[in-house]
């Protein structure tokens, strides 16, 4: 027996099972599809990032001297559209969600593997159209496509960009649908709803929003095309349309879209905080319900983007109040993460540094959201850099930090390789510092009255803009470091253990990287989630590289 065991080689991992390009491009394996998404969204991130770098260079001086305003207007449109639809929205769901949901619930794959592969092709087709619009002259409407500018006045490649986003929306819907069905029907025996990892809860809430909100965006984009090409009056008052209708429809999608970006991030952070403080998440049910509350309330606050747009005073009052309410479940989460640290044993690994960074930046992003929900303050800071700073704290400080924290946490599982913790912690801290230097001055600029989407600004705003641009260059470097060391880790042999962090969760019971079929036999779950024990601290230390 023993001799026989010794000569059986371990089953090849999903990475080494097949080598052909075809085996990647036609794979139905959720883990490989996650890798297809990983490479694509990483590319999109650096496209969007490059646009941001050029914008910050331009804004180092008050005059529009580095790029002319026409080019600047195209840059911020590309930056926004690419980052929102081709990086932030797909990031955690399509990479970590695709990879982890089946592993976390003890399943062989997602419910619809073919739909999953198709979603990637649809996403790439959308991405090709959107980036194509840059090549044929760029788009200068801003990612919000406000009418009637976008339909009647803009002299740029609005159509390919809108078509690209429309197409990519279907990829979102496919992914959301797939996740919902998978989580409902494919959980391992014993894995009840309240034994699910909070990451799965978050993905479930996100999927609901994806499936319910994205169709509204699709309809809105079709209406833009109909008006632009056939002159059918929908939004342009000159044609008998209503420009505010566009804003209602657009924000009915785009406000929930903010939660599509942040809910998965919250899910990731719950996993990280629990693991690295060796404690169960404090108030698990509260955190799970908070995800659902955010998903639902998120649909009822779109009007807070329209306080100065000409919406009725009464509508504004209601939207202001509801926007304050949606802050409550987010507050619950922050509080519970922090209290989870209590009585724990805290390991400051790279992922944990990212998670703590997330909590700090997200808290500030959330609190400044209250400023924007307060009517008279919003009247002043709407469409200024205050808003820019606020949502970058949520989306970059929040969603991107969590995404990177998650990538570092599950990298041993995904790639089978460890990375250097020193570089990891250094770049996470550099990122936190660079981020704050970039975006904190923008809060001040916003209250001073610096408008967004302008290549020129009055000279008295220069000092704060120079600080912001300096921070952006630090931030840029901090993003490149993990790209380098994570990519380089791939050339070393895959030696990561199945569970290097001693974490709970079914994904850690399979080898790193997992075999193609995930589990040799269907796991049976008998324990609550996060059954960490803070006293047993030695385990984690022993395996640190």
């Amino acid at each position: 027996m023993t001799t026989l065991d010794a000569i059986i080689l371990p089953a090849p991992s999903y990475l080494t099972a097949h080598w052909s390009l075809r085996s990647w491009l036609l794979t139905l394996d959720h883990k490989r599809i996650a890798m297809l998404y990983l490479t694509s969204i990483t590319a999109f991130f650096f496209v969007g990032g490059a646009a941001a770098v050029l914008m910050r260079l331009e804004l180092a001086t008050p005059a529009s001297d580095f790029v002319v305003s026409g080019a600047y207007n195209r840059l911020f449109t590309i930056h926004g559209a690419v980052m929102v639809w081709f990086f932030l929205i797909p990031s955690i769901p399509t990479v970590l969600g695709n990879f982890l949901i089946p592993l976390m619930i003890g399943a062989r794959d997602l419910a619809f593997p073919r739909l999953n592969l198709m979603s990637w092709y649809v996403f790439m087709a959308g991405g090709a159209l959107a980036t194509g619009s840059i090549i044929v002259g760029g788009v200068d409407t801003g990612w919000t496509f406000y009418t009637p500018y976008s339909t009647t006045y803009a002299n740029s490649a609005v159509f390919p960009m809108v078509a690209g986003i429309f197409v990519a929306g279907f990829a979102s819907i496919m992914t959301g649908l797939n996740f919902i069905v998978t989580i409902h029907t494919m959980r391992a025996p014993g894995l009840t709803w309240f034994r699910l990892p909070l990451f799965v809860w978050a993905m479930y809430a996100t999927s609901l929003v994806l499936v319910l909100a994205t169709p509204v965006l699709a309809i809105t984009l079709v209406l833009i095309a109909v008006e632009r090409f056939w002159g059918v009056g929908v939004f342009d008052p000159a044609l008998g349309g209503d420009p505010l209708l566009f804003q209602h429809l657009f924000w009915f999608y785009s406000h929930p879209a903010v939660y599509i970006m942040i809910l998965p991030a919250m899910g990731v952070v719950s996993e990280l905080v629990a693991c690295f403080s060796r404690n169960p998440i404090f108030g698990y049910r509260f955190v799970a319900y908070a995800s659902m509350a955010i998903a639902i309330l998120g649909f009822l606050v779109w009007g807070h983007h329209m306080f100065v747009a000409g919406q009725s005073v009464h509508a504004s009052m209601v939207f202001s109040f509801l926007s304050f309410l949606v802050a409550i479940p987010s507050g619950v989460k922050v509080f519970n993460w922090i209290v989870t640290l209590r009585n724990g044993t805290i390991h400051y690994k790279t992922s944990m540094v990212y998670a703590l960074g997330f909590i700090g930046l997200f808290t500030l992003g959330g609190l400044t959201g209250l400023f924007l929900a307060t009517l008279p303050v919003d009247v002043h800071v709407h469409d200024t850099y205050f808003v820019i700073a606020h949502f970058h704290y949520i989306m970059v400080g929040g969603a991107v930090m969590a995404y990177l924290g998650g990538m570092h946490f599950w990298w041993p599982k995904i790639a089978g390789r460890m990375y250097n913790e020193g570089w990891g912690i250094f770049s996470a801290i550099l990122m936190f510092f660079g981020f704050n230097l970039t975006f904190f001055p923008q809060f001040i600029l916003g209250y001073l009255g610096m408008i967004r989407r302008a290549a020129e600004y009055p000279p008295e705003f220069q000092l704060l803009n120079v600080l912001s641009s300096a921070g952006a260059s630090i931030l840029g470097v901090a993003y490149l470091i993990p790209l380098v060391y994570l990519t380089r880790s791939l050339v070393r042999p895959a030696t990561a253990e199945a569970n290097p962090w001693n974490a709970t969760g079914l994904e850690w019971t399979v080898s790193s990287p997992p075999p193609e079929h995930n589990f040799d036999s269907t796991p049976v779950v008998t324990t609550p989630p996060y059954s960490y024990d803070a006293e047993k601290t030695a385990e984690l230390e022993a395996v640190s590289p």
Partner: protein, 336 residues
């Protein structure tokens, strides 16, 4: 340095405050800042305290964690009540800020790509400048000739979107004489960043003097209105007033075709039809530019529609002016 506010006031961390409403907004803002500071310090201290006390390798007493639901409910309710109080206070201030007193002085402002045109009912008209008296409620009525703009005066903490074919408004009671920024806050196309102006707040007596001095003044000539300047037969002013000359010059430009020699000639349209450029065609070109776009021009037309902007009186004058540029008219000819 005088005590008067100035457009370029140098580096500062706090915006100028020059109206009664702005002072109210600042108070709400300060309350929110206080709230933020409170939560940041509270949560930061907790995180830092736990982070140090329970870090790995430190022998702290670690108790079994029990989740006390009532504790969670209590803190959620307390935090929610404090923040909702600020929400309600803000709403109260807002309702005040959007309800102009009945005796407010009216000023009309039209936004167009990329300028602000101001008309005082007493006569004077201005471009990218707005003179107002201090200590008097002033109501600004806003509309746009093309896309959505947003009329924004940071020193008054006031902003309002400017929509085509709709009137919106805002009001203020300026407190401090001086010059303040006027921005367009809603992205409106290529030169959005340059759609800037100045608000000049004056002592009431000084303002009265300004009013009577500038009563008969025409607004500054509109840039590029070379066609309008070339002729001086009555209707040209209307042509200049609507800035038609921004796009229509004595020769074709990327902004638009020349109107010289147009009247009475056959025009081939994009949709294949050929029509004669008569009065009806010119009316249509002004009021519904997309209904008939000439061959070789971009569709949809980049010419803004003037439906709802140009009243019948002006429309007639515009048509007369285009006619006067017609093939058989003397005056300016096509550019060589």
């Amino acid at each position: 340095m005088t005590s008067r506010g100035a457009v370029n006031s140098g580096f500062s961390l706090w915006p100028e405050t020059a109206s009664v409403g702005a002072e109210q907004v600042d108070l709400v803002y300060l309350a929110l800042l206080g709230l933020t500071l409170f939560f940041v310090i509270l949560l930061g201290a907790l995180a830092l305290g736990f982070g140090v006390k329970y870090r790995v390798g430190r022998a702290a007493h670690r108790r079994e964690v029990v989740h006390k639901t009532h504790l969670e409910v209590v803190w959620i309710t307390a935090a929610a009540l404090i923040t909702l109080a600020v929400c309600l206070w803000g709403t109260y201030v807002y309702v005040d800020a959007v309800t102009p007193p009945p005796d407010a002085r009216n000023i009309y402002v039209v936004g167009k790509q990329w300028m602000w045109k101001v008309s005082h009912p007493q006569g004077p008209r201005e471009i990218n400048e707005l003179h107002v008296p201090a200590g008097v409620p002033v109501k600004i009525n806003l509309t746009s000739q093309d896309v959505i703009h947003s009329f924004y005066i940071p020193a008054f903490r006031l902003k309002r979107d400017v929509l085509p074919q709709t009137y919106t408004s805002l009001w203020f009671n300026a407190t401090r004489p001086g010059e303040y920024h006027l921005f367009c806050a809603e992205y409106c196309g290529a030169e959005h960043a340059r759609m800037r102006g100045r608000v000049i707040v004056m002592e009431p007596a000084e303002f009265q003097r300004w009013l009577s001095d500038s009563k008969d003044l025409e607004p500054e000539p509109i840039p590029n209105a070379e066609l309008a300047e070339a002729r001086s037969d009555g209707h040209a002013e209307v042509f200049a007033r609507y800035a038609c000359g921004d796009c229509h010059k004595s020769g074709p430009t990327p902004e638009g075709p020349t109107l010289v020699g147009l009247f009475g000639q056959p025009v081939r349209l994009r949709d294949g039809r050929t029509v004669v450029a008569d009065e009806e065609y010119i009316r249509q070109s002004i009021m519904e530019p997309n209904a008939a776009v000439a061959l070789g021009q971009a569709a949809p037309s980049t010419m803004p529609t003037y439906a709802g902007q140009v009243d019948d009186e002006h429309l007639w004058q515009l048509i007369e002016f285009v006619k006067s540029l017609g093939a058989d008219a003397g005056g300016i000819g096509p550019t060589p």
